[in-house]
Symmetry: none
Subunit: 209 residues, 2 copies
Amino acid sequence: MERENQNGAYVGRGVMTEEQMETLRKQIAVYAVICEQLALLHNSLSSFHPLSSGINPNGDGYFNPMVASSSAQRISTRNRWTPTSTQLQILESIYEEKSGTPNRRRIREIATELSEHGQITETNVYNWFQNRRARSKRKQPQTMATTDQAEDAAVTTDEKRSCGDSGGFESYEHILFPSPDLGIEHLLSRGELSGDFNSYTIADIKYKE
Amino acid sequence: MERENQNGAYVGRGVMTEEQMETLRKQIAVYAVICEQLALLHNSLSSFHPLSSGINPNGDGYFNPMVASSSAQRISTRNRWTPTSTQLQILESIYEEKSGTPNRRRIREIATELSEHGQITETNVYNWFQNRRARSKRKQPQTMATTDQAEDAAVTTDEKRSCGDSGGFESYEHILFPSPDLGIEHLLSRGELSGDFNSYTIADIKYKE
DNA sequence: GAGTTATGAATGAATG
DNA sequence: CATTCATTCATAACTC
């Protein structure tokens, strides 16, 4: 089943011509550059921690490990919002009284109100309600057991796909795009993208045994 | 201290806007595709047998998420469709150019095209566009804020400044694979990217909000 | 400090 | 289209 790549270059199985080899080499170089830039981008992207500083302005109980500790460049930062207990309380009460569907307007109001107690965005509020509702719902109907045929129990909620692929870039699969199906890791796991992408050694790429 | 406005658009330097994030996402997808292609190429290049658990030599048919990873044999695989990176890339580009109104006809075409790269149905395509549009819309209007002043917004995705950065790569347009031309570079221009790539892999990229 | 759990976020699909 | 739901992923927080 030979086929062509997107540009029409025939890619037969088996042998490669010099030209193709050359092309491959170049392509790999390109890929290397992209990786490099991506890395750089990522660095600049995550090195500052825009909102983290506000995660927990008033130590309500949660405490941030490294929150803006001294130099603001130390990265690591988690971008995930974590409600302060005050916010949580409010959210919880709102959730109870008004129950379902806080519309767009409402969301905004809530967000505004909560922003008084800490960093928060409308999206956070939205997600919170979304999750709150979904999870409370999932808990209830669970009462009737269904213990039967629970063989698969082992795979309950914690699929925890720790999928240990290779070293280095192991976490490549939780990249932005959902599907970890692409085999990037197969390429990367060898390359040891540690540093010199520029030396793109083809030899290292084979993911062949 | 850097200030940010309500909607998550940060004012400080070094922060990404949603649009930029979008672009990054796309760029990553492109990069993924390239790697994918490379893998394929490499495969046909150096093999006579598919080998290597990962890349499926026959077309991009690997829409099977966790493959033989751990537990699952229940493998019906989730019923939910998950676009392969190739598909995503295509969808994304179509979305961009045609911005809206993918009529029934078009949907069919797209579906057909994408089926070349993995399992997909017209409904999937339809839903995808539906969601894509809805969600992108949802992100923008999160601005008005209380004291509008964040009029800047915009930040058109195609800044396209062709800044001849690419210090390393002369020309990769004549390469076999889809050219990674959509400038990751214009995202990189923000400078101040510190080194040490290993401490936080690309995988850490997330929306900030 | 590795393994769990709780939960914020992303997204395909369904519903109005 | 606009919303909402369901499921899953990723990670902060917790536990031992």
